[in-house]
Symmetry: C2
């Protein structure tokens, strides 16, 4: 059968992250490990800055766990840039076996999932999952360069300048356990508004979450936190409506990484944050530490990805999406 | 330790592939399952044509093994296009858990490797690895649209219009065994000529192959075939020189997918074929069937990927590359 829950015996040993100035000024600002006031990270181009963010986030995670590069069996890395160059250039020189991923904003969850499967089965002792996005590199590759000053619609999300790294080992290696995962299926609900990614992704996220509840015989109330990354304000509201129709209404324990990272009133980010770096930074700086401290006992994280490219939208196609689910326990 | 051989107990159950007219006219033409005389595959855009090629290749493989979509536990898919849309759109509607990959031309080897690891450990009964490239979509995203008629240098390779699908199960499921793999590391040797990908990728391929020979205590002569995908004529020649320096000279048993797919004299493809679809089509149509028939007893396949994007080259960066290695046995 296709589409079943994958049982895992892995854990998160430590994390690292880095963000830009806007994210530092947001509600979670103080929780991030490192930020750069001009978002340039001492590099000449936005693309190189994004790569540098991955390098910094990974090195912070390594230092936190007192690891060397040679302690990491494999890297699972990806980003939003054409040909995923943030990861390939950012992680150059590590000399670690490298698996390049592309899952749009779901890449963080995809990487954690694959790293967890491989450590559960002792293929590697330790793996790292690393992802990033940068507002300025994403805007010019996904939409228009920010210098154009293009107007944004109310449903549009703000690409996060951020990177997160997760070092994953077997179940005894870290305090935050990864007990299950459910990879998503690519689903297209016919949305073709590239400024409403939240709506485009909800169908795929609901598909995964509903399958998970059915197969695990659990309900939303059984979890301290259900967090998507990143549907934003618009998508999260539709998510609540869809899950109610499916018979699994989401309560106060549901939120979204794109909602948490910015202050809606103060920061002018419209429907909230998005980008591979959004869930990577929020999960590594806020959710995983909360589980480690016992504030949250268990959590479902569903990374959501819009799998289009600007060319496909210009050619009149709608937006396929995916939702990858991972379960964390304290 | 980082960078060791991964022992596998998987096998290739069946394959499928599809190519364009130029590939059909090449030396391996008669071996391909399906070709389209105008390279459009009944679609309005080159990007959609590439997706359609993945869909056709996958469905041919399924039919050959008498499988339904629901028999496949997970897809590992990727391509060269921005945001990997060939795979996401092409495989829409399969309703199969989907892992998006990006490894440039090494994606075929990366997908086979991950699918083999997951079936070896019974995470899934069966997985599929699917990749593609299309000359016209790749030219306009990687270089310039073909309508411009840009001149090509002698070291440039010709992006193959092709797709290949591999259905992978445990060691008893198919005749062609996958006994070991070694994921590559991202290595940048300072080459910045985007028209000489072969030279840019050789360093990473040699790194993986040399590590493999050392750790497995084997030599080139121990294998009926050592095949890279895709260094082309230029890269393969440098490969021979580098491996001789490393103490592992390659003999008559070494070749490259990019060399095999076109007739150098007759087809004006300069340094040979490249693109995710090159190794995917050559491996699925020629190498794997040759192992199944007993013509080749064992083979090392090293997928090589140039992990740059056009933007990174324009910004003055050199080309990082990777080489993923898989061992097949009859």
């Amino acid at each position: 059968m296709s589409g079943e829950i994958i049982k895992l015996d892995a854990s998160i040993i430590c994390c690292g992250n880095t963000v830009g100035q806007k994210e530092y000024e947001g509600p979670l600002g103080k929780l991030f490990d490192f930020h750069c006031t001009d978002d340039r990270f001492n590099k000449d181009t936005w693309e190189s800055a994004e790569g540098e963010m991955q390098r910094i986030a990974f090195n912070i995670a390594l230092k936190r766990g007192s690891f060397e590069y040679s302690d990491i069996g494999a890297l699972f890395a990806g980003d939003l840039l054409n040909q995923c160059v943030g990861s390939a250039y950012g992680l150059l020189g590590c000399n670690i076996p490298y698996f390049g991923l592309y899952g749009a904003c779901s890449t963080c969850a995809e990487g954690i999932m694959l790293a967890s499967i491989l450590t559960t089965h002792s293929v590697f002792d330790r793996c790292a999952a690393i992802t990033s996005s940068h507002n300025c590199s994403a805007e010019r590759q996904y939409r228009t360069p920010i210098e154009y000053g293009g107007q944004r619609t109310p449903t549009s999300q703000w690409t996060v300048t951020g990177a997160g790294a997760f070092i994953i080992g077997d179940k005894n290696a870290g305090k935050v356990k990864i007990s299950a995962a459910m990879p998503g299926r690519v689903i297209d609900k016919g949305i073709n508004d590239a400024n409403n990614m939240g709506a485009a992704m909800v169908g795929a996220v609901c598909d995964t979450l509903t399958r998970f509840f059915k197969q695990s015989n659990t309900r939303p109330d059984d979890y301290d936190l259900i967090i998507t990354g990143d549907l934003g304000h618009e998508g999260a509201q539709i998510m609540r409506e869809f899950m109610e129709i499916e018979g699994y209404p989401l309560g106060e324990n549901y939120t979204d990484c794109g909602i948490l990272i910015y202050d809606k009133q103060r920061q002018d980010t419209h429907a909230g944050g998005s980008g591979c770096g959004c869930s990577a930074s929020v999960m590594s700086a806020y959710v995983i530490p909360s589980i480690r401290k016992g504030i949250i006992k268990n959590a479902i994280f569903i990374g959501s990805g819009a799998m289009m490219s600007p060319d496909m939208i210009k050619q009149g196609n709608s937006i396929p999406a995916i939702g990858h689910l991972v379960v964390f326990e304290g």
